[in-house]
């Protein structure tokens, strides 16, 4: 394996882990409500920008990070309670427009309340690069991979071993049956938005030391996270993880071997290819319309 290839692979996996976190958020909300939350990317932005600005008032970074995640969670819950819940009976197009509206509203608000400049967070544990078989990896990459793996394990345990996690999965599978056995589906929806917002914010914090954050980063990161969820199969947790890594690696390879100008196109081409040729993704369920 050439060291150049290994380098691209490593950077692809690193950024892919972020896409995976964002993609998980899409899948969790989709499972709970069959809504694609177009504002998912804004949680990523709030994670990064929130940490920058909370830290700027003088609190230590770990506190600022927790604050930013909390902020994203509060906004996620408000989005569900104030906007999406009110249009529950509405058509898909209506819901799409509401979440897009929420997305540019939050983006605009961030641009006003915070600012419109680029900001970086300091790396969590220094910038001393580590050499691996001729390739270089920065410690932040290890943080990203480590946290992503930890989040994946925690989510796995949550969804399979805890009552509330299983209730969430049950609701995704059959909302009516879940209601009948006494699951409060409203709380499940709120929890899903909270969880998705937290995942996005964590992703936004992790990536901010490597790629500067900005009030408009949400759109691209959101779309790439969506691409991860679609490639893996919408609604599938493992799918989102694998999808994220695939999108990240494909993008890094395209940037390395083809043209970095067009690296952002890769995620969309993947979305389009998967949607056209394999609409249920790698791990997704196929559903059909009954008449």
């Amino acid at each position: 394996m050439s060291s150049e290839f290994l380098q691209f692979l490593l950077s692809g996996i690193t950024v892919g882990a972020i896409y995976a976190l964002v993609g998980l958020g899409f899948s969790i909300i989709y499972n709970a409500s069959h809504v694609i939350n177009f504002a998912q990317g804004e949680f990523v932005m709030i994670g990064g920008m929130g940490t920058v600005f909370i830290a700027s008032i003088g609190v230590p970074f770990p506190v600022a990070m927790a604050g930013a995640v909390l902020l994203a969670v509060v906004i996620g819950i408000s989005l569900q309670k104030l906007a999406i819940e009110r249009a529950r009976e509405a058509s898909v197009v209506t819901i799409i427009i509401i979440t897009i509206g929420a997305s540019i509203f939050l983006r605009g608000l961030a641009g006003i309340i915070w600012d419109r400049n680029f900001h970086s967070l300091p790396a969590f544990s220094g910038e001393q690069p580590i050499h691996v078989a001729g390739a270089v990896i920065v410690p932040q990459s290890l943080w990203i991979l480590g946290v992503t793996v930890a989040v994946a394990v925690a989510l796995f345990v949550f969804f399979n071993r805890t009552m509330i996690g299983r209730a969430m999965l049950g609701t995704a599978h059959n909302p009516l049956a879940a209601k009948l056995v006494g699951v409060n589906t409203n709380n499940i929806l709120i929890l899903s938005f909270a969880l998705a917002a937290a995942l996005g914010a964590v992703g936004g914090i992790l990536i901010a030391p490597m790629a500067p954050t900005h009030y408009q980063v949400g759109i691209m990161l959101g779309l790439k996270g969506f691409s991860a969820a679609i490639v893996g199969g919408l609604g599938s947790g493992p799918g989102a993880m694998v999808g994220g890594l695939l999108v990240g690696v494909a993008e890094a390879m395209a940037a390395g071997y083809i043209s970095s100008n067009y690296k952002d196109v890769v995620a969309f081409v993947l979305i389009l290819l998967v949607l056209f040729f394999m609409p249920s993704g790698l791990f997704g369920k196929r559903d059909s319309e009954r008449v």
């Binding site: 809504v35 694609i36 177009f38 906007a83 009110r86 249009a87 509405a90 898909v92 197009v93 209506t94 799409i96 427009i97 509401i98 897009i100 509206g101 929420a102 997305s103 540019i104 509203f105 939050l106 983006r107 605009g108 608000l109 641009g111 006003i112 759109i219 779309l223 969506f226 679609i230 100008n261 067009y262 952002d264 196109v265 995620a267 969309f268 081409v269 979305i271 389009l272 949607l275 056209f276 609409p279 319309e289 008449v291």
Partner: protein, 315 residues
């Protein structure tokens, strides 16, 4: 039964034409003309987009891409290759129509959220290409576009542009209304209402979705071409995500499945940022709010809600 629809159809066009004819008398200066022209251009896009979203029920979050392709085709062919503007415009419409046709078949197999994301991706790819192909488009710095001319007559007064855009809008509204009130239009609305029932009635739903996707793309390209020559300068942001969202917001605010609603939505949302500083400075926030609030409190949009209100209160 037939008479009222036909009468109200042409009555609406008559009112629109009257407003367009009288408006120049009321506009105090060229700033107001500029707003009116830009509103008219946006209205042309929105009437087409509403045929797709409001009538046929197929969302597109990438129509600014077609708008920009129309604009850049005119700009590139006229300025880089020296074509007559009218030839550039026609070629641009043809190329965009062809591109939309090629994209339409795979993309319109998707429904709902998937279609939204796919069209969003399509729009962003177009805008990335416009940003990157610096040799052709000037990249992020933009490119100048020479004035529009037909057989040696150069369109350079604000008033001339006003009549071109206003006249185009009237024609396009008329064509759209004709289309909706025909078997083709009923087929489109039926596909929106229940695709399987439409197919049982013998409607090839794929064919109709492709047709209206292409029609709306060509309308957007036409508006883009007018815009290019009118403003004289283009940047890739004309094809960007936010521009697409602006068009969708206009359609939604005016009223889905309402042609005149689209004209009103385009007029309002073009004028507001020009006259209200809060709208101009906080553009994202305001557009986001308009989208959310309209969908939550007035999902039918302004014009249909107003119509409902009037008919309820006149009983």
């Amino acid at each position: 039964m037939k008479k009222p629809t036909v009468v109200s159809r042409y009555a609406g066009v008559f009112v629109l034409a009257t407003v367009i004819a009288v408006l120049p008398l009321l506009l105090p200066n060229s700033f107001y003309f500029d707003v009116a022209i830009n509103g008219g251009i946006a209205a042309i896009v929105c009437v087409g987009l509403n045929l797709l979203i409001g009538y046929a029920g197929q969302i597109s979050l990438g129509h600014a891409g077609f708008f920009a392709l129309g604009a850049y085709s005119s700009a590139i062919l006229t300025d880089n290759y020296g074509w007559p503007p009218i030839a550039s415009l026609s070629t641009g419409l043809f190329v965009v129509g062809l591109l939309a046709f090629v994209i339409a078949r795979p993309i319109l197999r998707l429904k709902g959220h998937y279609l939204a994301m796919a069209t969003l991706g399509m729009g962003i790819i177009i805008s990335i290409v416009l940003n990157q192909e610096v040799n052709l488009t000037g990249g992020p710095d933009g490119m100048p576009v020479s004035a529009f001319s037909v057989f040696g007559w150069e369109v350079n007064s604000e008033l001339a542009w006003y009549w071109i855009v206003g006249g185009s809008l009237i024609v396009i509204v008329l064509l759209a209304l004709n289309l909706i009130d025909s078997a083709v239009g009923r087929a489109l609305r039926a596909v929106h209402g229940s695709e399987v029932a439409a197919q049982v009635a013998g409607i090839d739903s794929t064919r109709y979705k492709i047709l209206i996707f292409v029609v709306s793309a060509v309308m957007a390209a036409y508006a883009g071409s007018l815009f290019a020559h009118y403003t004289g300068f283009l940047t890739p942001s004309e094809g960007g995500f936010f521009r697409s969202i602006e068009f969708v917001t206009m359609v939604v605010l005016g009223g889905m499945a309402s042609v005149f609603g689209s004209v009103i939505g385009a007029a309002i949302l073009t004028a507001l940022p020009q006259f209200l500083t809060v709208f101009h400075d906080y553009e994202h926030v305001m557009f986001g709010l308009v989208m959310m609030l309209t969908m939550i409190f007035m999902p039918k949009g302004l014009l249909p809600s107003l119509r409902n209100w009037i008919s309820k209160n006149s009983l």
